[in-house]
Symmetry: C2
DNA sequence: AGGCTAGGGGAAACCGGTGTCATTTTCAAG
DNA sequence: CTTGAAAATGACACCGGTTTCCCCTAGCCT
């Protein structure tokens, strides 16, 4: 193979196949108005020389780059990397590339910052996992800049389009149902911060199951924490000190479940013998810690795939699958942290 | 602020400040051959309209994009995300963007794949953490394509340039010394796979300390595992079943240390009372698990920063700091998994 | 005062694609 | 064999920068 120093361009292809560069352009863009004979002739030359159009030049002409941005605000590293894999599963082989844009929603300039970024780089599309996906104002700004977007969200947001939904309430319901089936009746829930939609959804699913099993809701058993280890441990300590403590705790994420482990350890309470625990997320720690944590797993990689396909669907030559999914269900992973109540 | 629909270009600036576009180009590129008076005039117009040059156009003209790639093969998500933060700390405010390129070194087409990617996208520079950084052939290919690179590595590699070094052996030495100081004399080491340079470095630091404390090397106490939870647990089980088991185990990473926890748990051996454990990496799990794991922490974010600065140093207007660092030392984090031998 | 040198500045081409619109080809109908 | 309209193709400008090369001007020397 002759790897000459200069990259081969559309002009070379045009010259070599005896057509104008515009026709070559039509061929590589699958324009319908090219005669079959011509197309084949041009394609042959393209194949022969392994030509691929220059993304930069194309970006300039189209006033739109082939960059896809992942805009996120501090989800767990596991989440970020897994979703990234899913996205790249789809982008692989296309000319799209993934650029990372971590943001801090607490900063008040963050929307401006994202907007500048998107305009400056002429980003093709943005993928936004929670909690960025919940910022409707940002979404509007980004869309206004002519940048596509797909949101990952646990609920239907203000505008239902461009969203990959995760049925968080269902996941929570599976967790709660598992505990109820084991015979637990005093089940506590340590929920995440009210500012995250996911925490509402998970709480909702939890409550539904209580109703389903005719368990009376005890508001003292539903505490709010910050989705962190420390706050989780704190709330757990409070729960375990109650005169009539719960026999099971379902937490809004794994991080807080580990806090529960910690509190239980300190209080000399054994898991699962004295206390059952279920988390949410299936982080790697869940299967490393002892006893292995039962938890709810989200198909994050699949969600990333779906998001990417949604984003590029009408740009790239239609892929085989007809993009059937927009909604994903979590699954309960039962491990060793749950048992019948003592 | 007047956000007109059309973006302002170099032509607008040239017209408005009464000079040619080439002169504007000179100004934005800090060319020395512009009279001070002219520069100020042009800068004023640029400021007034908040003009920034279009990255795509510039990329086309320069035949070099402003994309920095992170090429990695499956380090821990924590590692990836933390390094990414460090890199973006530096890239923030520049026109550089970070694109992700996960690879699989076991695939035999992976070098070709990376090369195509780098050529196609005209990547400005690549940052390669271990173990990709250890693939000299890939490095050569990438460099040959006119793409800069910086490697993150635990040792001096074949070519010492463009490398951010981490003193892994020193970290291991700190860990071993801590155990020796506590009085341990039968100290085992579960090392990582021989194919990773880091595992050699860590072993080396470990051995140095044994010599330092006059502890005779017992080859049965040095086992190789796969840097994974399962293999770590396996080796630990073997160690604990010895007729004269070690009183302390230093593992090549945290993941394997968790395996040790698991094995100890199953064998009814208490940490740290019966067995001390030290890991390497300071993953989030280390401070979540019970008892908290003593481990060695790498300044990953700082390393990411250094790598990025190294990469773009002579392109961007010199930043304040004179890039003093190329080598980083880990630090031992003492937690609850270590105690004097029983 | 005239001539020389060097640096500031500009016109035009170029990077590698796409859009517009005119022109040529093709082919069915007359 | 025309004719005409639709289909296919091409010429050329343009996207927004940089590079090449040449000209102009100012300052210095003789």
């Amino acid at each position: 193979m002759s790897r000459s120093k200069r990259k081969i361009t559309i002009n070379d292809i045009a010259r070599l196949s005896g057509v104008s560069k515009k026709t070559v352009s039509r061929v590589i863009n699958d324009s319908p108005k090219v005669r079959e004979r011509t197309r084949e002739k041009v394609m042959a030359v393209i194949e022969e020389h392994g030509y691929t159009p220059d993304p930069q030049a194309r970006a300039l002409a189209l006033r739109r780059s082939s960059l896809i941005a992942m805009v996120y605000d501090n989800p767990s590293p596991q989440y970020v990397v897994t979703m990234l894999r899913g996205i790249l599963d789809v982008l692989e082989g296309t000319s799209f590339q993934l650029v990372m844009k971590p943001v801090d929603r607490r900063s008040d300039s963050y929307r401006q910052d994202v907007l500048r970024f998107v305009e400056q780089q002429r980003i093709f599309g943005a993928i936004m996992p929670p909690s960025v996906s919940e910022d409707q104002e940002l979404i509007d700004m980004v869309a206004g800049a002519g940048c596509r977007h797909v949101r990952i969200a646990s609920v239907v947001l203000d505008t239902p389009e461009n969203t990959v939904k995760t049925h968080d309430s269902d996941g929570a319901a599976q967790a709660a149902r598992h505990l109820a089936e084991l015979g637990h009746r005093r089940i506590a829930h340590i929920r995440g911060p009210k500012m995250f939609r996911s925490s509402h959804e998970r709480l909702r699913g939890f409550k539904e199951v209580l109703v389903e099993y005719g368990i009376k809701l005890d508001s003292k058993l539903i505490l709010e924490a910050g989705y962190t280890f420390d706050t989780g441990a704190q709330r757990a300590t409070e729960l375990l000190r109650m005169k009539n403590p719960p026999t099971a705790i379902f937490t809004g994420n794994d991080e807080m479940a580990l806090g529960v482990y910690n509190a239980a350890q300190k209080a000399g309470i054994r898991i699962p013998d004295d206390l059952s625990v279920v988390g949410f997320d299936d982080t790697p720690i869940a299967s490393r810690i002892w006893p292995n944590l039962s938890t709810v797993r989200l198909p994050i990689r699949e969600m990333g795939k779906a998001a990417a396909e949604l984003l590029i669907r009408d740009r790239q030559p239609a892929r085989s699958s007809p993009l059937p999914y927009v909604s994903f269900s979590p699954s309960l992973v039962v491990r060793k942290s749950t048992a019948p109540p003592p």
